[in-house]
């Protein structure tokens, strides 16, 4: 009995492989019947026992939950719908959308939601057109990079060392800020745009420095150098059709090379010294002249006072004399005598030694003068002779 049922099931299985799906419904019923009549172990055997024939795994595949015609259509449509939906994309406000169709540029889209045929038909690039990119030449920011200028800086001396127009060497550190000007050009015209900007920037700056003198480069020519470099760089990039817009070339630092920087600093010191020395001399002058003027005023005043003194004295003395003379003229002899006696009185009172002699005795006396010695001053003598 088992053998019969097995064979019947086998036949029916084979039929199942070739019959359309609806028939399966019918086929399962006898299987269930078979299940009722046969032990579970034996029942399973026909399903698992097949090893021979390549069509069996395919049949298994086609049996395994494979929907009917309509279901297949739904699934297929679902897949297609998903694929079509994948074509929706959104452009952010700082981006632009560049759409290629079969690899060829088709159109540019602005911000917002858009639709494009999904890959492989169309592909969308979304370059950030407002982002400011930065390239550094002659140095590298360590730590805070890309946006902020402060922070540590490491010099790259081979990049920074440049030759000037007057055959001097100078170290230049600068940065370039740029952004995407034309997204189509930027994406498709040039390979390696970052390297391009750096190379072109270095070449442009070296050309501008090569046309400058070292003194102006270090001091007041920086603005001119920056603007010339910016223009030149933009010209170069435009020639390649790079679609890059140069915002600014900024000189971070321009200084003479390390080996000669002391000599440069000394020049500044020398200028300071010159000012200082001149100031000292002026201070000397400013101190000296007022003093001299003061002295001269003093001298003049002294002379004035001498003048006044002399005149006043003269006036006083002569007034005195005039008064006396007036009196004298009224009684000349008496006045003269009086004056004489007054004077003699005074004189003789002062004299230390007085000798009175008779006239004839005086004439007989030997005039013997003791000169006490050359060191002592000789006392004045008066000899009255008749």
């Amino acid at each position: 009995m088992n053998w019969d049922w097995d064979k019947l099931q086998e036949k029916r299985q084979r039929q199942q492989g070739g019959t359309p799906p609806p028939r399966q419904q019918n086929d399962t019923e006898p299987e269930d019947e078979g299940q009722d009549r046969q032990p579970p172990r034996a029942k399973r055997a026909p399903f698992n026992g097949r090893g021979g024939g390549s069509e069996n795994p395919f049949k298994k595949l086609s049996q395994l939950r494979f929907p009917n015609g309509k279901g297949f259509l739904f699934v297929g449509l679902g897949v297609v719908a998903l694929w079509l939906l994948s074509g929706i994309y959104i452009i952010n406000p700082d981006e632009e959308g560049v759409v290629l169709r079969f690899g060829k540029y088709d159109r540019t889209e602005g911000p917002g939601p858009h639709y494009a045929w999904p890959a492989p038909i169309e592909s969308v690039y979304k370059p950030q057109v407002t982002q400011v990119l930065r390239s550094e030449v002659g140095f590298r920011s360590v730590g805070q990079s890309a946006t902020f200028q402060q922070g540590q800086v490491r010099t790259v001396s081979e990049e920074a060392s440049m030759l000037t127009g007057d055959e001097n060497i100078v170290n230049v550190q600068f940065s370039v800020q740029y952004k995407i000007g034309d997204p189509v050009q930027y994406l498709f015209n040039v390979s390696a745009p970052t390297a391009l900007v750096r190379n072109a920037a270095e070449a442009a700056m070296r050309e501008v420095i090569g046309n400058s003198q070292i003194d102006s480069a270090i001091t007041d020519g920086k603005l001119k150098i920056q603007s010339e470099a910016t223009q030149l760089l933009q010209t170069i990039l435009d020639r390649y059709g790079a679609g890059i817009h140069v915002l600014a070339v900024q000189l971070q630092d321009v200084h003479p090379p390390q080996e000669v920087i002391d000599a440069f600093k000394d020049v500044a010191s020398a200028r300071e010294d010159k000012s200082r020395i001149i100031n000292e001399a002026e201070a000397y002058r400013n101190e000296l002249l007022p003093k001299a003027r003061g002295q001269s005023a003093a001298m003049l005043n002294e002379a004035e006072s001498y003048h006044a003194l002399r005149v006043r004295n003269a006036e006083g003395e002569t007034a005195r004399f005039d008064a006396l003379s007036a009196e004298h003229s009224k009684a000349p002899k008496v006045t003269e005598q009086r004056l004489y006696y007054e004077a003699m009185e005074e004189i003789l009172a002062n004299a230390e030694e007085k000798v009175l002699m008779d006239g004839p005795a005086a004439s007989r006396a030997l005039p013997y003068l003791t000169l006490p010695g050359l060191s002592a001053p000789a006392a004045p003598k008066v000899l009255e002779k008749k």
């Binding site: 395919f58 086609s62 015609g69 169709r101 690899g103 060829k104 540029y105 492989p120 030759l163 000037t164 001097n168 060497i169 994406l187 390979s191 390696a192 391009l196 070449a203 070296r206 050309e207 090569g210 170069i236 390649y240 059709g241 000669v260 000599a263 440069f264 020049v267 020398a270 010159k274 000012s275 020395i277 001149i278 000292e280 001399a281 000397y284 002058r285 000296l288 001299a292 001298m299 002379a303 003048h307 002399r310 003269a314 002569t318 004399f321 005039d322 006396l324 003379s325 003269e336 006696y341 004189i347 003789l348 004299a351 030694e353 009175l356 006239g359 006392a379 008066v382 009255e384 008749k386």
Partner: protein
């Protein structure tokens, strides 16, 4: 067929594979050549979707963008026998992929060729100018001429050279030392000049100040003398005016004063009896 969904899948797969052999896309950044049995067709394909015959024809792609080439630093000599280390780069693109394929085939190959051509042209041109001209005045002109020459030479390879630019024009390290020495000497000279100018000005100011001072004082002395002289004269005139009115009395009075002044203490006197002082009656 309808009954076997498996078959539909298989058919779809076949269609897809066949499609991939019949169509090909060229990206915006590329151009393509179609090779038929190894030989390129005489047509370059731009970006977009194109058709080809399956299996017999296959596609070779070329980058149509501006490509870069960087040379290593090399020495060249200027007309005034100065050595200069040049560092340059070039930008080029493939304009004729057919020719390019026939002659160069690959980009590294093209770069090697470019290297030779650029270096020889640059060296020749640099050798025609002086150092200053190469670095500054004629730099742009040299670069332009090199670009033109190199582009003309590379034209046969289907390549257009857009730009050859000199990046670095540096001097070899021995010359650098010499340059540093010169720069130092130049600065020292300047420093000395400033300092001596300062000294000069300082000395001038100081001596001028001294001179002015001497003049002021001398002027004052002169004025003072004059004033004194005037004072003396005036006094003398006053005296004379007064004494002239009674000259004899003045003489007498003056004699008495002189006696008073000169015969002071410690005088010794010898007087005769007949002296008028001792004999008032006469």
């Amino acid at each position: 067929m309808r009954n076997n969904p498996l078959l539909i899948i298989v058919i779809l797969l076949v269609v897809v594979v066949a499609g991939s052999q019949c169509f090909f896309t060229v990206h915006q950044t590329q151009t393509a050549l179609v090779l038929q049995l190894g030989e390129p067709l005489n047509k370059a394909y731009g970006p977009g979707l194109h058709f080809k015959m399956p299996f017999i024809q296959n596609v070779v792609y070329f980058d149509s963008r501006v490509l870069d080439y960087e040379a290593r630093s090399r020495e060249a000599f200027t007309v005034d026998k100065k050595a200069i280390v040049l560092d340059n780069y070039a930008r080029w693109k493939i304009i004729n992929p057919l020719q390019f394929y026939r002659t160069m085939r690959t980009i590294p190959g093209a770069q090697a060729r470019l290297d030779d051509v650029v270096y020889s042209q640059l060296r020749a041109l640099v050798g025609a100018y002086t150092l200053t001209e190469v670095v500054s005045s004629h730099r742009a002109a040299i670069m332009k001429e090199v670009t033109n020459k190199v582009s003309a030479l590379m034209h046969g390879y289907g390549v257009e050279v857009l730009d050859v630019r000199i990046k670095r024009t540096d001097l070899p390290s021995e010359n650098q030392r010499a340059i540093f020495g010169r720069m130092r000497a130049e600065r020292e000279r300047q420093a000395k000049q400033y300092r001596s100018e300062g000294e000069e000005e300082s000395t001038r100011l100081r001596s001028d100040a001294d001179r002015q001072r001497a003049v002021i004082l001398a002027e004052a002395a002169r004025e003072a003398q004059i004033t004194r002289g005037v004072g003396d004269a005036k006094a003398a005139s006053i005296y004379a005016q007064s004494y002239n009115k009674a000259p004899q009395f003045y003489a007498y009075q003056r004699w008495l004063e002189a006696m008073r002044k000169s015969l002071k203490e410690n005088s010794k006197m010898v007087l005769a009896n007949e002296a008028p002082l001792l004999n008032p009656q006469h």
